[in-house]
Amino acid sequence: MSLEAPHNLAFSLSDHLPILQVLIPFIAAPLAVVIGNRIIAWWLAFISSVISLLIATTLLGKVIDGSVISYQIGGWAPPLGIEYRVDSLSALILFLVTLVSTIILPYAYKSINFEIPKEQHTLFYAAYLLCLTGLLGVAVTGDAFNVFVFLEISSLSTYVLIAQGSYRDKRALTAAFDYLIMGTIGATFFVIGIGFLYMATGTLNMVDMSNLIKGQESLSTVRSGFVFIVIGIGLKLAIFPLHFWLPRAYTYAPSAITAFLAATATKVAVYMLLRFMFTIFHPNFLSKISIFEYIILPLAIMAMFSASVIAVFQSDFKKLLAYSSIAQIGYILLGIGLMSETSLTAAVIHIFNHGITKAVLFMGIGAYVLQGRGSFLSDLEGIGKVMPWTSAAIVVGFLSLIGVPGTVGFISKWFLVKSALEIGWWPVAIAIVLTSLLAVIYCWRVIETIYFKPLLSKKLTAETPISMLLPIWVGALACIYFGLNTEAIMTTSQMAAKSLYAGSFGSL
């Protein structure tokens, strides 16, 4: 902010939307701690999440035509100041995160009551809000170092949230510790990468950085920065060989947290990957170093196959879904690796689709656990007869996971196959179909157990309480709604893919 220059005046609240997106959960978290009442804490979390969803929807509406919203923190103009920048891709991620959070919080109220002692609730919701802040911040910021700060805000609160599962199973503690070690190494690699880029460019603003990197791609500083960043994000993202923290963390975390993390945390990491690979490093650079053919594509296909095969042999429903998550991340990476506009669209749609689908499935398994059943398949035999509504929602989730027409999962797989055939890589298309068949196998194992096995009479259970059933079904209906009414998500994703493919931040 130079003292004489006119300020960037913003007279209505709508000009502040990018910062409010982050600020509202950020203020709600300490407020919850100060007030110190667990019911008020839940309401604060829920209300701020609803407001965030409204903000995200407004932002999405504003940028859906391909425009970009830029916000200068403290009135300092970029590249010197920190800029918040929203384009169609970040708006879609913001929408996904806030939507999932708003669906999950009503569900979490009962579920958390059951899984965590009451005196921890206030701090639990404060940590949840901080996690939400971090995830939204990563998506909204246009400053490379700011990404790291928000990433760590979300990661640190994630470790805490996962460790809260220890009241049910003490293995949550070691799972959280493992994740902490891996996550910190990943984040530190990421900072090293940013350090290298800062050395080469002298700026931290993403747009500025991207302009300055052009022409010095052959510098080894830039290249090693790229490697550090991709590996760092890869750890967070659970790219196939770096995925070992994920199944344990997802299995032992509280159900609501598993649903939230599975739907959002890895998706935000994919967003980071896309942002850094395509916006900061130009697509030309990526194809010059052939990262797609030799690294991303093979890893994606390996993830799809190996994780799906492991999922088939799991006897714990939660672990099965966790491995299926790794396979689904493989699909997203495949979309990135095929490197065409169609495949990028598929990847972006799949981020959204898989987020919603996994939220429904993990909420469903959480409902089973709440009703006195374990998450093992043997505990779930015949449960479809006593909990018909929950089980039906899980079936909808499975259909979407497999990619049956009429659900969201179909669109992204269709686009993936289409983009593979467009460039004539039919073996990849076959791989997609084959792994979908593997998904059919592990989904069928669960459906068979739920519906076609005799009920265990000794553990009689009732249907899930309505306050939990409603969020599950809102999610399940969202799977169908976005599968039939593809317009909104498609337009945004195509816009996002187009700008990514052009290697820009929003503007085409």
Partner: protein, 146 residues
């Protein structure tokens, strides 16, 4: 290529060499040590290496501390070191402290729950737990078939 291995190259990049040595020491400790507290120490060394990397990056040769004199008479010939990396790393240090305290808190809880903080023991306890779970499941399924 010969030029790469001259004394000038080695001494001129001394901060990078030290950064690499520290980083690898830290990473090695994290990977090889079984004690959770030692892992945390390794993680700290690993993070410190990055702090050193950033701080040495901000040094401009011949530059002085980037503080303006109180009377604001700024000599335009003075070179200042770049303060931005220091500010950035201040943030990263705070993040590092939070990570360390969280990791230590988890270690305390693990010690209370398991009675050990050695990774080998933890793994064997968890293996036992999951075998129990699996055998309970098998008993259930087989019992029904019989």
């Amino acid at each position: 290529m010969i030029d790469l291995f001259t004394l000038n190259f080695i001494l001129g990049h001394i901060n990078y060499w030290l950064f690499i040595v520290l980083m690898m020491t830290g990473l090695y400790i994290v990977i090889s040590k079984g004690n959770l507290v030692k892992k945390i120490v390794g993680l700290n060394i690993f993070q410190s290496s990055v702090f050193m990397f950033y701080i040495s990056m901000g040094k401009v040769s011949g530059g002085t501390a980037p503080i303006f004199p109180l009377d604001m008479k700024i000599d335009s010939t003075t070179t200042y070191s770049n303060p931005l990396p220091h500010v950035l790393i201040l943030t990263a240090i705070v993040v590092g402290i939070s990570t360390t305290s969280l990791a230590l808190a988890l270690t305390v809880r693990i010690r209370e729950a398991y009675g050990t903080i050695e990774e080998d023991d933890l793994v064997s306890i968890e293996l036992e737990l999951s075998t129990e779970e699996l055998s309970a499941e098998h008993a259930l399924t087989n019992g029904r078939k019989a």
